[in-house]
């Protein structure tokens, strides 16, 4: 049953040739689109990230990307190994360290809530919260961005390390609305508890990994 058997049957060669030709043409199109937009896309991503970091760290004018591993910290250079924790050091106009920002994430109501938090090494506290990406219910879960009472939790959320600097002295905890007693607790939004908990878990998971690695290396970050 090859192509030669019947007159009105297309030969396999023609089919393979057509598909090959179309695939080649499409391949060229995709690669040129990728190459053509690459610089604009990277620039866009950098701007978006900078904007997010500068929003949680007021007064910052520039930032540098670092990776914290068990061995220490190093400037992020392209693709890093999966083990390190990425963070951003933000500097003021005259080069002084303004704060540190890092990403965290935990499953919320609809999908992963990806957050960016600011860490103030002098006060050993979380001092700002931003959202990188979420698909929470509009008007309910997205209150984490607008609810002033909730955002007040992040004026100075205590994340000091324990005696041997291996973990947080008090894990960040989300408590029921109105029952916050300690500076390391987050007062949940009533009606958006799941999303609030995701924020707390995202911060806690990320801070538990990052801060013990960061603490011995802070001096390296002080100067730009």
């Amino acid at each position: 049953m090859t192509g030669a058997a019947a007159v009105n049957v297309t030969s396999s060669r023609a089919m393979v040739a057509t598909l090959g030709l179309v695939a080649t043409l499409c391949g060229v199109l995709i690669v040129s689109a990728y190459q053509g937009t690459l610089s604009a896309v990277t620039a866009n991503k950098r701007i978006a990230l900078e904007r997010a970091v500068f929003k949680v760290i007021p007064g910052a004018a520039s930032m540098k990307e670092f990776v914290a591993t068990t061995a220490g910290i190093e400037p992020a250079a392209g693709q890093s190994s999966g083990n390190g924790v990425k963070f951003y050091a933000a500097y003021g106009p005259s080069g002084e360290l303004k704060g540190i920002a890092a990403e965290g994430g935990a499953t919320g109501y609809a999908d992963v809530v990806r957050i960016l938090y600011a860490y103030d090494p002098d006060r050993q506290a979380i001092t700002g919260l931003g959202v990188v990406g979420m698909r929470e219910t509009p008007g309910i879960g997205d209150k984490i961005l607008t609810d002033q009472a909730f955002l007040a939790n992040f004026a100075a959320l205590d994340v000091r390390l324990d005696a041997d600097a291996k973990a947080l002295a008090n894990p960040v905890k989300v408590v029921k609305h109105g029952s916050k007693r300690n500076p390391w607790e987050i007062d949940a939004i009533s009606g958006a508890t799941v999303t609030s908990k995701a924020v707390g878990k995202g911060i806690n998971d990320s801070a538990q990994r990052l801060l013990p690695r960061l603490a011995p290396n802070l001096d390296k970050l002080r100067s730009k």
Binding site: M15, V41, K45
Partner: protein
């Protein structure tokens, strides 16, 4: 190029097909997945409409150009490869233009690949018509789809957020109908629009068009 016994549509008629008579959203009710999912705001609707139109025009043009070369056995595979290519291109273009729009549209940009309007146009129209006619028809269809998305997106944004294209309409005292930007709101608004269009169509069929247009009030 018309087949014997078949009346050829003028280019203008071809263009208007997608906007009115064969509107993908309101008449053919195709591509409902992106229509309902991204039409939460007018800006999202507009960007999705433009992206889909771009893919639609480019892929149907290419399909039409190579229509005589492609053996019928592998035509679907060829069309899908071509459509997927232009979706990838548009994916990169949107990332380059605005990451905010890219994040808002999410997976629905990639899902343009399986938008039945596009494969439908490639198979039913582009594979049988010369390039110019195809592009005109695809432009009409794309515009019709965009208009359909916009009419959903605008209504949902106005009621669900009190805004239009991001501009606040009713002042700070407006209590948004959150349900409008949630999935059920999409169905409500689509249902209302379909009702309106079917009512218009029936009125025309009944020959009641002689009466002057009465202002129809809907709360």
């Amino acid at each position: 190029m018309a087949l014997p016994g078949q009346t050829q549509l003028s280019h203008m008629e071809e263009f208007m097909e997608g906007i009115w008579k064969q509107n993908p959203v309101f008449v053919m009710v195709l591509g409902m997945c992106p229509t309902l999912a991204v039409s939460v705001s007018a800006v999202n609707s507009l960007s999705m409409g433009i992206a889909t139109t771009f893919v639609l025009v480019c892929s149907t043009l290419l399909v039409s150009l190579i229509r005589k070369l492609v053996p019928k056995e592998v035509r679907i595979a060829t069309y899908i490869v071509i459509i997927a290519t232009f979706v990838t291109v548009v994916d990169y273009l949107i990332q380059a233009i605005s990451l905010a729009v890219y994040d808002a549209l999410g997976a629905f940009i990639q899902l343009i690949v399986v938008n039945c309007i596009i494969l439908g146009r490639a198979e039913a129209h582009a594979s049988k018509n010369p390039p110019l006619r195809t592009v005109v028809n695809a432009l009409g269809m794309g515009l019709g789809f965009t208009l359909g998305l916009l009419s959903l997106g605008a209504v949902r944004e106005i009621f669900g957020a009190g805004k239009l294209f991001g501009f606040s309409l009713f002042g700070p005292d407006f209590q948004p109908w959150v349900v409008m930007v949630l999935p059920p709101g999409g169905f409500f608004v689509l249902g209302a629009w379909l009702l309106l269009f079917n009512w218009l169509k029936n009125r025309k069929v009944d020959g009641a068009l002689v009466k002057p247009l009465e202002g129809h009030t809907h709360a």
